[in-house]
């Protein structure tokens, strides 16, 4: 039941991202998602809470809730861009697409029954939903920072999937996702800085020089 509340809050954060109009709000929402995922990790492992698991969950929460937003806000400030999201697909259509994605994920989750269900059956659906929302954000947002946020949301979905399924080596799961996200955000942050310096904007829609 507790995991249900966290999962629904995750769904709400994803919907908020789809409808958000400002970059600052989006960054904060992704930070909240990171913290929620840390709580989810702790809840699913609550019967065998070793120090390692605790440490990884806490470090995950600090990384995603504090460090990444700080990095992203710094990139935003240095890039000196307008703080609007500027999507290709407006907020209403994005919200409707999100609802469609949620229905699709629930349908798919029903077709993939977990061999042993430790958490709730809602978990696979919400994880899939987060991944789809992340992909949608990457495709439909113009600014490079929004694409990084979409990537983070996608990774959050994968993390939720891995964490909630009580796999044999949970630490490997969490560590690999953390590695992926940390380095990606770090490297992408550097590239965004270069892009803003080179192009005077971070609109990846304008990066159309190389084509056939």
């Amino acid at each position: 039941m507790n995991t249900d509340i966290i999962l629904i809050l995750l769904v709400l954060t994803n919907l908020r991202l789809l409808g958000a109009g400002r970059l600052g709000a989006s960054v904060r929402t992704v930070a909240v998602q990171g913290v929620l995922l840390g709580v989810l990790a702790l809840l699913t492992h609550h019967d065998n809470l070793t120090v390692a698991v605790l440490l990884v969950a806490l470090s995950g929460m600090i990384l995603k809730g504090v460090v990444f937003p700080w990095l992203l806000f710094r990139a935003l400030r240095e890039a000196e861009v307008e703080r609007e999201v500027e999507p290709f697909v407006g907020p209403i259509l994005s919200l409707l697409a999100g609802v469609a994605a949620l229905s699709g994920s629930l349908w798919l989750a029903r077709r993939l029954p977990l061999p042993e269900s430790p958490g709730s059956s809602l978990l696979v659906a919400v994880a899939l939903f987060s991944i789809l929302v992340g992909l949608f954000l990457i495709i439909t947002r113009k600014k490079a920072i929004s694409q990084v946020l979409g990537f983070l949301v996608m990774e959050n979905g994968i993390y939720a999937f891995g964490v909630g399924l009580v796999l044999e080596s949970p630490l490997l799961v969490e560590l690999s996702v953390l590695l992926d996200v940390f380095v990606a955000v770090f490297v992408m942050g550097i590239i965004i800085f270069h892009i803003s310096r080179e192009f005077d904007h971070i609109d990846t829609h304008e990066l159309t020089n190389l084509k056939d």
Binding site: F161, L167, V187
Partner: protein
């Protein structure tokens, strides 16, 4: 020995950051490459034993891809020395748009190059699903600064696309790993299957089928993005055309293979679990789509480095097609991996020579290479003939084997499409090859430095040899590996 294979390039790479002297650093690069090649050759004779509970092991498949990587890296590192010497002279004028830009510091280049080698080695020796993923992720990170060597907006655009698309692909592959773990999760009463490929293959019948299917699909799409299968290939032409030729050679010749390795290993699990038909169909489908996309974009291509990049897409499609057809096609695909890597590396290095002399990447403006750069011209023509599959070069044999596989299994439609696309690409690239090499040019014949000619020449000789005679050692390895993969 496996530790040495990984640690030598990794430590050399870290050390390269600290070396101040340019010539010393270049010497370090070549020395590490030579040491790595030496270790690889040694591994052929004394097979190293598995390390760390089976997580690191060098099986036949790994040895094959490791040898390709190493055989490529040594000539490329030698060529890189001349390239760095040429490029390290302050601000450079851009060839296409005329602005001034500078390069990344040479230390970054050399260090990332060595770390890239270390990461690719790690991919070939990984037997654990998670470790393989980490290694592929490491290759992405190590190669991104290499693509952004020339600091201008086009290469930045290429780097951004590369980073974003490959990261998304690798994230999907990570999800595939988790789904695979769910497929392998234990039912109460049985032992958990460790996530090592060998164990997964032996216990393949115990895996839950729908999850295994989902896992294969995700891993195919995820690693396929890194490999350059259409429609996930969109980063490839940009990255391979904007990066320095040295890096393009490595990316096309070695990195794409490493991503392919991940797919092959997962396909082994599917075949062992009885889902062979499912996985083979997907592989054939992706292979044909890649070839179609490549054929469409090769014809009428204006930029010869982009043409080579699309040719990589085509050959990755052929590899996928070969594995997907099964039977003798697996042998053909593995042989083709060797052939394609050597040929493509040679072509990119020669392209670097041409670019350096003509200062343009346009296929219409470059004329008379045979007159201006005699040796490079011959190699360019030979290489292009090789890559489109004409005898007596290596790729002809491997492509023919794959054709035979498709006819063996009675898939005539696939064979017809395959031949038609090869023909289209043949026409497209021959036009370019003949136009570029022949004709008059205002450029006087130039002296070509030995370091710039020798590496591609060696690779070219290798390709010619492979077309005429496959050494028994290689033949045995290929047969063994193909048998292990369920073919033959």
């Amino acid at each position: 020995m496996i530790w040495l294979l990984i640690l030598v390039p990794m430590l050399a790479g870290i050390a390269a950051f600290g070396v101040r002297n340019n010539p010393a650093r270049r010497a370090l690069l070549v020395a590490s490459a030579a040491a790595h090649s030496g270790l690889t050759v040694a591994a052929w004779f004394w097979m190293p034993s598995p390390v760390l509970n089976g997580w690191f092991a060098l099986d036949g498949l790994g040895l094959l891809f490791l040898s390709i990587t190493s055989a490529l890296f040594l000539p490329v590192s030698v060529y890189a020395v001349s390239y760095l010497r040429r490029e390290s002279s302050g601000r450079i004028q851009d060839i296409e748009e005329g602005f001034l830009f500078d390069n990344a510091p040479e230390a970054t280049f050399t260090a990332c190059l060595l770390l890239f080698l270390a990461a690719m080695t790690l991919v070939t020796v990984s037997q654990h699903v998670g470790l393989l993923w980490v290694a592929v992720e490491a290759t992405t990170l190590a190669s991104a600064p290499l693509i952004y060597f020339h600091r201008h907006h086009r290469s930045l655009e290429a780097t951004w696309k590369y980073l974003l698309i490959c990261s998304v692909g690798i994230a999907l592959a990570l999800l595939g790993n988790f789904v695979l773990a769910v497929a392998a999760s234990s039912t109460p009463g049985s032992e958990p299957i460790p996530m090592v490929f060998g164990n997964l293959i032996t216990h393949a019948t115990r895996l839950h089928v729908p999850w295994l299917k989902a896992a294969f699909l995700l891993i195919l799409v995820g690693y396929g993005t890194k490999m350059g299968l259409a429609p996930l290939h969109t980063w490839l032409p940009d990255a391979h055309s904007e990066s320095p030729s040295v890096i393009s050679a490595l990316l096309s010749g070695a990195l794409l293979n490493c991503a392919f390795l991940g797919i092959i290993r997962t396909q082994q699990i599917c075949v062992a679990a009885g889902l062979g038909d499912f996985s083979r169909e997907l592989l054939v489908g992706f292979g044909l789509i890649s070839m179609v996309v490549a054929a469409v974009f090769i014809v009428g291509q204006n930029d010869f480095k982009r043409m080579l990049a699309y040719s990589s897409v085509e050959h990755m499609g052929i590899l996928s097609l070969g594995i997907g057809l099964g039977g003798v096609g697996v042998f053909g695909a593995l042989l083709h991996a060797v052939n394609h890597s050597l040929t493509k590396a040679m072509l990119f290095l020669v392209a670097g020579n041409i670019l350096g002399a003509y200062h343009t990447k346009s296929t219409t403006e470059v004329r008379g290479v045979l007159r201006a750069l005699p040796v490079s011209g011959v190699m360019w023509l030979a290489g292009l003939l090789a890559i489109i599959g004409s005898p007596p070069f290596g790729p002809f044999l491997s492509e023919l084997t794959i054709l035979k596989a498709s006819l063996d299994h009675g898939r005539t439609i696939v064979a017809i499409i395959y031949l038609a696309l090869l023909a289209v690409i043949f026409i497209g690239m021959t036009t370019v090859a003949l136009r570029m090499t022949q004709g008059e040019t205002t450029k006087a014949p130039q002296r070509e430095s030995l370091i710039a000619i020798l590496p591609p020449a060696l690779l070219g000789v290798g390709i010619l040899l492979l077309g005429l005679y496959i050494p028994p050692v290689l033949n045995n390895l290929l047969h063994e590996t193909a048998r292990a993969l369920g073919g033959l």
